[in-house]
């Protein structure tokens, strides 16, 4: 019962979110992305803008992401380790 109420509240909130958002495909603000598209080739020398975001502009996030993967795999090895 409690769960059903939580679920319905969430559904209403989320659909309201979709209703409030900008129309699909018409972006309101794009200062950060336009800067990146225009300057990525010049600053990082890579043709693939997404890769230059992943490894250069937001390279620190990728380090975090690699850490998450490392953590989870170390965790899985710990949980499933043999005990003999």
């Amino acid at each position: 019962m409690k769960k059903a109420i939580i679920f319905i509240i969430f559904a209403i909130f989320l659909f309201y979110t979709a209703y409030e958002l900008h129309p699909f495909g018409e972006i309101k603000e794009s200062k950060m992305d336009d800067y990146i598209i225009e300057n990525a080739q010049n600053e990082t020398g890579a043709n693939n803008v997404v890769t230059s975001v992943v490894f250069d502009y937001r390279g620190y996030d990728t380090l975090g992401e690699a850490t998450v993967l490392f953590t989870a795999i170390a965790g899985a090895l710990v949980v499933l380790r043999r005990r003999k």
Partner: protein
């Protein structure tokens, strides 16, 4: 103990396909800064090659040949390369993860702006980081699948 190894047809095909999948994975990793793809995607392809061998030969045999500990060390080395490249960023130049290779000999060329056919020797530290992440993902995903596949046999 049940035989885990699959029939000779499957193992032969797996042997045949393995180098091609690995080469494709290297291609995706190395061209990450030019075409769609990159370290993670290429690493996942490479890991799938090892998973294919696990399916074909059974987990125990692969464990004898490779060992999940070695794969996990391989993963650690990938992570180390990433952090060391980052730290070199502020030892050689200004900040952590600074793209200090742009303009140098190694991967340092700046491509002509706008549309171009793509040159491999560009991107600064990006290809290095792609390789590091690729190593991490190959080692990590393969070792976790290997451990999960082995687990059934642990109970006895």
């Amino acid at each position: 103990m049940k035989e885990e190894r699959m029939s000779i047809i499957v193992t032969t095909i797996a042997n045949l396909l393995f180098p091609f999948i690995i080469i494709f994975s290297f291609y995706v990793i190395m061209h990450g800064h030019l075409t769609p793809g990159g370290g993670f995607q290429g690493g996942a392809i490479g890991a799938s090659a090892i998973v294919m061998l696990i399916v074909a030969y059974g987990a125990r045999e692969i464990r004898k040949k490779v060992g999940e500990e070695n794969l996990s060390i391989f993963e650690s080395i990938g992570g180390l390369i990433f952090v060391i490249v980052g730290i070199l960023g502020f030892i050689m130049a200004s900040t952590f993860l600074y793209n200090f290779l742009v303009g140098s000999e190694l991967f340092g060329k700046i491509p002509p702006l706008g549309s171009n056919p793509g040159y491999l020797n560009t991107g600064g530290i990006l290809p290095l980081l792609n390789i590091a992440v690729g190593m991490k993902v190959i080692g990590g995903l393969a070792s976790v699948v290997l451990v999960m596949a082995l687990f059934r046999g642990d109970k006895e």
